[in-house]
């Protein structure tokens, strides 16, 4: 099975409250913040690696190709994914200001057409734009189905068909889909038994891990030799245009008021009754 995993670098999401905007409000500035792999993409990569390995024997049985559309510095993020176990990388160079969900989806579609994967797995959203759009638009551009918010993925025929559980507001939907397909993952995909691929023993459980697997030292060494192809939007024949324009960025208004520390349940209940008047 061959899986394409789009990844994006984002400003450290755990310090997103340190993101600033420029004085004229036209740019978001992330100076001083480290670049990290978008957490949802990290989890998508984990799901893709699980789908293409024997988890118990720790051996690879398929191929994961990473693709990032963005500035060429994103190569560091691709290298990080290679160190975790992906086989190859592709960088499509583009200036962040020229990219929106539509252009990114078009670039990913162009790469997918060249690579012909059985499956594309990606995060349901990036945690900077928080839009939740690119995966679905990508599927449409390829003429493939989209399965958003996957929390469990099962295949027993090397990626020809998938049984997927989707994490919805109202509950959980179970669907069966014939590939190729674009799957976006929800938070719940890191469950120890989130992926069954017919190769890893059915009773195998992955360890609980906050963000998926870490790169081993050996993985980091090997990643240095793994190939990363460089592409450009024009080289791929992508002529898609932005469909939205950001006019202004602002910081949100701070919550007014101070925190009142209360000493006891009685005091808390009293404040909720008399001050906040919510009880």
């Amino acid at each position: 099975m061959k899986i394409l995993v789009p990844i994006k670098r984002v400003a450290d999401p755990d310090n997103a409250n340190k993101v600033k905007v420029s004085a004229d409000g036209t740019q978001v500035t992330t100076e001083g913040l480290e670049w990290k792999m978008n957490p949802f993409d990290e989890w998508a990569l984990e799901a893709a690696l699980r789908l293409t390995e024997d988890g118990a024997a720790k051996s690879r049985v398929g191929e994961v190709v990473l693709v990032s559309v963005g500035p060429k510095e994103a190569v560091a993020t691709v290298r990080e994914g290679l160190a975790k176990g992906a086989e190859r990388g592709v960088i499509v160079e583009g200036n962040d200001n020229d990219l929106d969900s539509n252009v990114i989806a078009a670039a990913l579609a162009a790469v997918a057409k060249k690579e012909s994967p059985d499956l594309i797995v990606m995060g349901k959203q990036t945690v900077d734009g928080d839009s939740n759009v690119a995966g679905t638009v990508l599927a449409d551009k390829l003429g493939w189905p989209i399965i958003n918010y996957a929390m469990r993925i099962e295949t027993s025929d090397d990626g020809k068909t998938f049984a997927i559980k989707r994490d919805l507001d109202v509950g959980v939907a179970s669907v069966k889909v014939t590939g190729p397909v674009v799957i976006t993952v929800s938070d719940s995909i890191l469950h120890p038994e989130s992926v069954k691929n017919g190769v890893t023993p059915a009773d195998f459980k992955y360890p609980e891990a906050e963000g998926g697997r870490y790169a081993s030292l050996k993985g980091i060494m090997q990643a240095k030799k793994k190939p990363i192809a460089e592409q450009t939007l024009s080289g791929l024949g992508v002529d898609a245009k932005r469909t939205v324009t950001y006019k202004k960025f602002e910081l949100p208004p701070a919550r007014s008021g101070q925190t009142t520390f209360v000493e006891s349940v009685e005091e808390l209940v009293e404040k909720l009754r008399t001050e906040a008047k919510v009880l």
Binding site: D130, D140, P145, N148, L168, V244, L251, R255, L268, V278
Partner: protein
């Protein structure tokens, strides 16, 4: 002048309340563009749902009866076909709206403004980014504007007493309809109010340590308040509670009158989903926890000591009326 199409979200043959926020947003967009709005009820039971939706002042209510469960592939071609004459297509940014509308947009070469919190008079839209740490204002530069709106930022529309005409539209079958089969949807039923609609939300974090503690310690407090139950991602991931309860950047966004966060440290991702709440109470052992940045009241305590007492105290106040 251009008109606006609201895509209603149906569940088991009735419109979910989420739809009413989309109607409010559609009215605002229609007012600003000098047009009117229509509603599309699509899915199984669309015709039944249309009767209720006809009371909200829409020009007309369109119905597309599609049997079987929802799939993006099954619905998007019809929504795109119906929607292409409109200036804007609007739904609420639920897992339904955020799944369906980008696909509709792709079919119409339209841009998407996702999870919008404000419709501006100049036709632009405002939305949170970076887990709510940046507020962006954008224009959608295509003939059709596709918009999903955040439920908590648009009040539910009230019935206007009107009686819109109901017309059925033909279903457009796409090429992909057979590729996705819905085996079933386990709808989580609860006696409690819906998380995104509740006046009070009581949420628990990983400090509860187990699903049993969620049930035995947190839930009685939730019910004493008559509240909805929420949770941090850590608690959902650890399996203490089902993922639908997750509040945060990637879960549900809530803005109740009272939000009680117990044993939740307040990671940025969680704050993004609840900092619009009117009054925020935190109960945590660590008074330096980041939840203090947004809490109005903070009780520094071990939750296992104080939550049962809190439950009794709330019951007493409620009983006293």
């Amino acid at each position: 002048m251009s008109n606006v199409l609201v895509v209603a979200e149906l569940l088991e043959g009735a419109a979910r309340k989420t739809t009413l926020s989309a109607i409010t947003a559609a009215k605002q967009i229609a007012k600003q563009s000098g047009g009117s709005f229509d509603i599309l009820a699509i899915g199984e039971g669309a015709e039944g749902a249309a009767k209720e939706l006809a009371g909200y002042g829409a020009g007309k209510v369109l119905t597309a009866e599609i049997p079987g469960g929802y799939t993006c592939e099954g619905y998007a071609p019809t929504v795109a076909e119906v929607g292409k004459g409109y200036g804007a297509i609007v739904a609420t940014a639920s897992s339904f709206g955020k799944d369906l509308l980008p696909s509709v947009a792709a079919k119409l070469d339209a841009g998407v403004a996702s999870e919008v919190t404000r419709v501006n008079d100049d036709g632009s839209f405002t939305r949170p980014m970076y887990a709510g740490n940046v507020i962006g204002t954008l224009t959608v530069d295509t003939d059709v504007k596709v918009v999903t709106v955040r439920q908590t930022d648009f009040e539910a529309a009230e019935p206007s007493g009107g009686d819109s005409s109901v017309e059925s539209v033909s279903v457009t079958k796409g090429d992909l309809a057979g590729r996705v089969e819905v085996l079933g949807v386990e709808v989580v039923k609860s006696e409690r109010p819906e998380l995104t609609e509740a006046d009070i939300v009581v949420s628990g974090g990983r400090a509860f340590k187990s699903a049993e503690n969620f049930t035995n310690i947190l839930e009685p407090l939730v019910d004493a308040f008559g509240a909805a139950m929420g949770a941090s991602r850590a608690a959902c991931d650890a399996g203490y509670v089902s993922p639908e309860a997750q509040v945060g950047q990637t879960g549900k966004v809530v803005a109740p009158k009272l939000y009680v966060a117990i044993g939740i440290s307040g990671a940025i991702q969680h704050l993004a989903g609840m900092k619009g709440s009117k009054t925020i109470v935190a109960i945590n052992k660590d008074k330096e926890a980041p939840i203090a940045q947004v809490a109005d009241y903070f009780l520094v305590a071990d939750l296992f000591d104080v939550v049962p007492k809190f439950t009794e105290a709330v019951k007493k106040v409620k009983a006293a009326g």
